[in-house]
């Protein structure tokens, strides 16, 4: 073992209720390197890093920290030893100030606010972070929150910092700041592990890359030996880029059918402002916008989940009939189905099986008005949709929480499609979904448009928008600002419209 190795994992395995999440992985982190950890969802990336950071305990295997065998029982213990983990969702206390968060858990018995503001200010300046230590965390943007998280890690003299999907919620501008920061940390001799879905970032930023698949290490080496193709092939075991990044031409763009939805000047508080657009049958309308641009809110208004402003709220016409929904139930009855971006908190029913989840959609649609339900109907509906969407599970009685992200998403889609909608709104349909399932979900979406449904796809992932859409609408600051045809659109043009 060389002296420039700071962490070494040997033959690490982790079982969750007997199911292996990590299988015999040997991993090495060198001093002062940026190490990208890649893999599909459920490949074991998070588990592996959580073992290093003491969040979970390995079932077997050994871990060496600076050459000594160690096993950290809690994140605090790991932090004291110089290993910090920055989670996907930040673990800051929103109602406290930046300085209070920095010193959280290391306060003196008598804690003077002024004192910690002064030392926090000095500390943040030494890191070159432009964050006001007296600002409340809840008022900060995603990038600044991340800065505070990082500052906290550095404040604890962390020599190893692990980032779990750090750039998922950042705007391009914020990403640039973040990358500069990572490089500064590296210059200070900090070793960095970062988990990412964005392959371009990994290739650009890292010194070495490790790729996991199904809990096993499939490739590891210097970044210069990898390219995009090679990484994808290693992640999924086959080459998918042709399916995911097709070139669009006249033949693959669907013509607009009947105008089913016409939205005029709708507004809701400060998030949706005088937004106008139309949706047509038989094609996919892609909505691109950065987080906070009001795209999700706009379509939640359309599907009755949110209510638009009562005065000057604009108008929505469904097949030339003005509508104003109070509850989603009315929208569902009119054939509008919204498939959420956040399946865990508002998509599926976690204590229930696949069959019950899909049946939930059927019961909610309430088409046949039967008071008495039929379990054979449930089994038939479940069988039909798990087959149509190729949900992979042991059987339809498997609980949804036990499935992978992609299969969970398919169940949520099935729960929506069983309601026989006329307009389907997909919000980030492939977020947290593995690469293999992305292609399948794209096929499902294309099939719906081919069958003549009006389909809306909201996404902040540009290749997805370019690949699927027959029309691309760009949302910025609560309204649609530009429309592109997928033939003429380029990633640069769309991004320019979304940002400026």
């Amino acid at each position: 073992m060389t002296t420039d190795t700071i962490i070494r994992l040997e033959d690490i395995s982790k079982l969750y209720r007997g199911v292996p999440a990590v299988k015999g992985v040997t991993f090495e982190l060198k001093r002062g390197e940026i190490h990208a950890l890649l893999g599909e969802n459920g490949a074991g990336k998070s588990t592996l890093t959580k073992i290093i950071a003491g969040v979970v305990e390995a079932s077997s295997g050994r871990m060496f920290h600076k050459g000594e065998e160690k096993s950290y029982a809690s994140p605090n213990e790991a932090l004291d030893a110089g290993i910090a983990m920055v989670f996907q969702e930040t673990s800051l206390v929103p109602s406290m100030t930046v300085a209070q968060n920095l010193y959280l858990g290391s306060e003196k018995f008598l804690n003077r606010l002024r004192g910690i503001y002064i030392s926090a200010q000095q500390f943040l300046q030494s890191l070159n972070f432009a964050v006001d230590p007296t600002a409340l965390v809840e008022t900060l943007g995603a990038a600044k929150k991340q800065m505070v998280e990082i500052a906290r890690a550095v404040h604890h003299n962390a020599e190893v910092i692990i980032f779990d999907e750090p750039t998922a919620t950042l705007t391009p501008e914020e990403k640039r700041h973040f990358f500069a920061l990572i490089r500064r940390l590296k210059a200070r001799g900090v070793s960095i592990v970062f988990i990412s879905h964005a392959l371009e970032e990994a290739l650009m930023l890292s010194d070495r890359i490790t790729i996991l698949r199904d809990g096993e290490l499939v490739a590891s080496g210097e970044t210069k030996d990898f390219d995009r193709e090679k990484i994808i092939a290693a992640m999924v075991g086959r080459s998918l880029s042709a399916e995911l990044y097709r070139q669009r031409d006249e033949a693959t763009v669907r013509k607009a059918g009947h105008k089913v939805l016409s939205v005029q000047d709708i507004s809701m508080g400060a998030t949706v402002r005088n937004n106008s657009f139309s949706v047509f049958q038989g094609q996919i309308t892609g909505i691109f916008g950065l987080i906070g641009s009001g795209r999700t809110e706009t379509f939640k208004i359309v599907s009755g989940i949110y209510k638009r402003d009562f005065l000057r709220g604009g108008s929505i016409e469904l097949n030339d009939r003005p509508v104003r929904y109070v509850v989603p139930r009315e929208a569902v009855k009119d054939g509008i189905v919204y498939i959420t971006e956040d399946r865990k908190s508002e998509g599926f029913f976690e204590t229930m099986s696949i069959a019950e989840n899909i049946f939930g959609g059927l019961l909610a649609a309430d088409r046949e008005k039967h008071a008495i339900i039929s379990y054979s109907e449930m089994r038939e509906a479940a069988a039909e949709w798990t087959r149509a969407l190729s949900v992979r599970a042991i059987n339809d009685n498997a609980r949804v929480v036990e499935l992978s992200g992609g299969n969970q998403q398919k169940v949520v889609i099935g729960k929506g499609l069983v309601q026989k909608p006329k307009i389907v709104i997909f919000d980030e349909p492939t977020r947290g979904v593995d690469v293999g399932a992305i292609a399948e979900i794209h096929q499902i979406i294309n099939r719906l448009a081919d069958e003549g449904l009006a389909v809306v796809v909201i996404s902040s992932y540009l290749p997805e928008i370019m690949n699927l859409s027959d029309r691309i609408l760009v949302c910025r600051q609560g309204r649609i600002v530009e429309e592109f045809s997928p033939i003429e659109a380029t990633e640069e043009k769309i991004m320019y419209a979304a940002v400026h």
């Binding site: 569902v332 939930g360 039967h370």
Partner: protein, 328 residues
């Protein structure tokens, strides 16, 4: 709920643990306690949990839908006290019953409306309505703590009815258990209870009538409380309103939760109420035969309730943590 085909015997859950404990207590008591395993005593056990069981059925419907109804005991005692008071004052049977029943339904509707539409937490709404119902009826309507059943009234004779040496309460409990079972399992409104209890936001977004169903659940709970009150009056020949300030409410929650109806919503069913009622009934009966003082009985019950909730939390963790931390 459980739609699994076959029975996975190796998975421990609270329901099976409680069933096993019940069986152990039953066997030990049968051999160790003279007078336990006699027909009379066993009938007494079932009879003692009948009223509790009916109250727990209503509570189960509310808890599965991720709520709680603290007003159950107050509605049970005060509605029947009011009813008896009117009968004693010479009201006609139909008039008194109609008025009380509409009062009971009104309380359920108000509870449900405040929880569903005003979005006040259920625990505060029902606490307030319990105090209101008790205070209003006790101060404005009835004059003494206890109101007797008038002589010759059908409630008096109901208390004495027996089929095959089994008191009628037991059959009434069984009937309502069956009705609630059929409601929860085979009607779409019953299924909505589970969906809304599991994930209210997802249920609403999918187009289920989440709010009207909440109102329905609190109304069902109020009506079942009234029926439990009638049975209490039938067996005791009066309604003592001091029961509102007793620990009866905790017994109801004990029956519901100990059987495996998770307080986090979406879990359990009538079977769990029956199992909870069995354990509670046998436990209370053996403690009475051994002659443990009431204050110690409360201590034992509270310890068991706490243990049941902790075991439930350990065996069936909600996935909220993984939900917050992304993929495994």
């Amino acid at each position: 709920m459980d739609t699994k085909k076959g029975f996975d015997l190796f998975i421990l859950n609270q329901e099976r643990i409680v069933l096993a404990i019940t069986a152990v207590i039953f066997v030990v008591a049968s051999f160790g306690l003279p007078g336990f395993l006699t027909p009379d005593n066993l009938v007494a056990v079932v009879r003692s949990v009948s009223v509790l069981g009916i109250l727990a059925l209503g509570m189960a419907v509310v808890i599965i839908g991720r709520g709680i109804d603290l007003s159950a005991v107050a509605v049970m005692a005060m509605s029947v006290a009011w009813y008896l008071q009117m009968l004693n004052a010479g009201w006609s049977e139909a008039g008194a019953l109609a008025l009380v029943l509409s009062g009971v339904i009104l309380i359920g509707l108000v509870n449900g409306f405040l929880v569903a539409y005003a979005e006040v937490p259920a625990i505060f709404v029902t606490l307030a309505s319990a105090s209101f119902v008790f205070g209003y009826v006790r101060s404005q309507i009835i004059t003494a703590d206890a109101v007797p059943v008038p002589n010759g009234h059908w409630l008096q004779s109901l208390g004495a009815v027996q089929f095959l040496d089994v008191p009628v309460e037991v059959f009434i409990f069984a009937t309502f258990a069956l009705i609630v079972f059929l409601f929860l399992r085979f009607t779409k409104w019953g299924r909505y209870v589970y969906f809304a209890g599991d994930n209210p936001v997802a249920a609403r977004n999918a187009g289920m009538p989440v709010r009207p169903m909440l109102v329905l659940r609190y109304t069902i709970s109020a009506i079942l409380s009234f029926i439990a009150g009638l049975l209490t009056a039938a067996s005791l020949h009066s309604m003592n309103t001091r029961v509102v300030n007793s620990t009866l409410f905790y017994d109801i929650v004990l029956v519901a939760v100990i059987g495996g109806i998770g307080l986090s919503g979406g879990k359990g069913g009538v079977r769990n109420v029956l199992i909870g009622a069995a354990l509670t009934g046998i436990l209370l009966n053996t403690m009475t035969i051994i002659d443990i003082p009431l204050i110690y009985q409360n201590l034992i019950k509270s310890t068991i309730l706490l243990a049941a909730i902790i075991i439930d939390g350990v065996l069936n963790p909600r996935d909220e943590q993984t939900a917050q931390q992304g993929d495994i």
